[in-house]
């Protein structure tokens, strides 16, 4: 297992060597996010805005005037809910090619507690017109995604863990920013998941198989725009859905999936996610239990979804 921030910093370094218009701005969390080392290598285009996230967003939007593609990085809540208006007006409304990177999403903020725990960042960024919202699962997916994020001409919000994540994808994996990945086939229920919930969903699928329930696991790494084609192909087959996300069920993966299915192919959708509450201090095990983000929660939701079919 490698730390996500290490891979992120390396991916940026490589791209910054190839492209002198990529810039990286931190808001005093460069050491936490793996980007601090870039400022010595790329003086002038890798720098610190200080603890001033709104200013960082505006500076990034302004830098695009000279062809720069800035990445602005901080903990997830500080580059979403704190700067929602800058993200909307100075970045997306003005169609500025700025990439926003929010780390420590949801319960992965662990001991920083509720103030630092973004349970609503996907909802905020998804609601702002024009943003692509992407949550990498592991270092392999992250490594392959960064060049595609640069290549995509428009604002992107990347929501990523900064520490170690379990490996889900091998070296044969081929990532496409706008295509969801089917990680396991199954005929009875589709489990749509993102981020840290992907490994949990795969474990849950194993457990469900023992009960005779075939779960198809779909990694919706890009939550906006939803890969409607992959989602519908799966749900037309299974007829029932569970969503699993490290985020509030208001505005996140559950919302995105329901919005898509409601008008294309209505089916029961049972959510596993944070139930309209804030986070709290704790370690992952505790927080998964307290906020119902465990394997058993997905198993239970899958049973419920299967039972709702045709009713």
């Amino acid at each position: 297992m490698t730390e996500m921030r290490k891979v992120f910093g390396e991916a940026l370094e490589k791209l910054m060597r190839e492209n002198d218009r990529i810039a990286v701005i931190d808001a005093d969390l460069g050491k936490s996010n793996g980007t601090y080392c870039l400022r010595e290598m790329f003086p002038g285009r890798a720098f610190d805005a200080g603890v001033a996230e709104a200013d960082m967003a505006g500076i990034a939007a302004g830098m695009t005037s000279f062809g720069y593609i800035p990445f602005i990085c901080s903990f997830a809540p500080f580059v979403t809910r704190r700067i929602a208006d800058q993200a909307a007006v100075s970045i997306s409304y003005a169609k500025r090619n700025v990439k926003i990177v929010g780390t420590d999403p949801g319960i992965t903020a662990e001991k920083n507690g509720g103030t630092h725990m973004s349970v609503e960042d996907i909802g905020i960024m998804r609601a702002i017109p024009g943003f692509v919202v992407f949550e990498p699962v592991d270092t392999e997916q992250l490594r392959q995604s960064v060049p595609q994020v640069v290549e995509y001409d428009g604002p992107v919000y990347i929501r990523m863990c900064r520490k170690e994540t379990p490996d889900v994808f091998g070296p044969d994996y081929r990532f496409n920013l706008f295509t969801a990945d089917v990680l396991r086939a199954g005929a009875d229920v589709t489990v749509v998941c993102s981020g840290i919930m992907v490994e949990t969903a795969l474990d849950a699928a194993e457990a469900l198989a023992k009960e005779g329930i075939g779960a198809e696991v779909v990694n919706l790494h890009t939550i906006k725009p939803v890969d409607t084609e992959t989602l519908l192909r799966s749900v037309r087959k299974t007829g029932a859905v569970v969503t699993a996300e490290n985020h509030s069920i208001v505005g996140g993966v559950y919302s995105a999936v329901c919005e898509t299915l409601a008008q294309e192919y209505p089916a029961p959708v049972v959510p596993v996610g944070i139930r309209d509450r804030f986070g709290e201090v704790g370690q992952m095990d505790y927080l998964r239990r307290a906020l119902h983000l465990g394997q058993c929660d997905i198993v239970e939701a899958a049973r419920k979804a299967v039972g709702m079919k045709g009713k």
């Binding site: 002198d20 810039a23 002038g44 200080g50 709104a54 505006g58 302004g62 830098m63 800058q86 003005a94």
Partner: protein, 274 residues
């Protein structure tokens, strides 16, 4: 200074065009548009390296109208400069217009940054100045912020950054007409001591006693260019300047509905001066 008289005449024409645009739309931000005319004319016709035929010229000087509601003033100046036909002014705020009430860089040739949500444009201007330095561009960046806008904390975040990074390619202006929507700036939330504040943020700061005097503004810009750090020129202006009913309305001129009589009276008054 050369050409000041011509610029003064041009300001009269710009004011007529502002009245024409807002009069045509029926309602608009006339007070803060009229107060900033001299600064914009000075910049576009005396100072800035821009090419109306090539609005995206890489090393052009940039202007960010952070007080984006004064769009009509900028549009009148850009039309005069030749970015687009003056007839466009008659489409202000019409459905599908290229001239919306608040500046939109995607719609209007010559507009360098979208602005309207107060406190944001200035940070973008600072980002432009930082980027110009990073890539070795000779471009300079001019930013106009409102006095009411200066109550936004994000203005001061951006100021702190510009001062700390010694962005001497940035010249900012405060349109200090001392009127915001709900009253005078002094009574709502005073900015004073404003010059000291900017100095404390490592800007070179100077107050221009009459920010509606072309010669005074032009001289101040010459001074700002010589500074070894970002500069702030605090322009003491009059909201609604040059149009009696708007001047008399004071804080009420922030956004006004204009009758045909208002328009006729304003034209007459401006004609007499032109």
């Amino acid at each position: 200074m050369d050409g000041i008289q011509e610029l003064e005449q041009m300001c009269v024409q710009i004011r007529k065009d502002i009245v024409r645009a807002i009069g045509g739309a029926g309602t608009g931000h006339i007070g803060g548009s009229l107060s900033i005319v001299e600064a914009l004319v000075c910049l576009y016709f005396r100072e800035m390296n821009v090419d109306p035929q090539n609005p995206q010229m890489a090393d052009r000087d940039r202007l960010v109208l952070s007080k984006g509601h004064a769009g009509p003033a900028l549009y009148a100046v850009l039309a005069e400069k030749g970015y687009f036909d003056r007839d466009w002014l008659d489409t202000l705020n019409e459905p599908g217009t290229n001239l919306p009430s608040h500046c939109d860089m995607l719609r209007t040739p010559g507009v360098d940054m979208t602005a309207g949500s107060l406190g944001q444009g200035f940070a973008c201007a600072v980002g432009m100045a930082k980027a110009a330095k990073a890539c070795g561009s000779p471009a300079r960046v001019f930013a106009v912020i409102g006095d009411g806008e200066s109550q936004e904390g994000s203005v001061w975040e951006a100021a702190m950054f510009a001062g700390a990074h010694r962005l001497d390619n940035l010249i900012a202006f405060t349109d200090y007409n001392n009127a915001q929507i709900s009253g005078t700036v002094t009574e709502i939330l005073t900015l004073e001591p404003l010059e000291d504040k900017w100095r404390a943020f490592n800007f070179a700061a100077r107050t221009v006693a009459d920010g509606n005097d072309v010669a005074q503004v032009a001289q101040a810009v010459e001074w700002a260019k010589e500074q070894d750090r970002p500069a702030m020129l605090i322009l003491k202006t009059v909201k609604g300047k040059g149009v009696s009913f708007a001047e008399k309305a004071g804080v009420g001129s922030h956004s006004m509905t204009l009758t045909q009589d208002d328009i006729d009276e304003a034209y007459e008054e401006l004609e007499a001066r032109g």
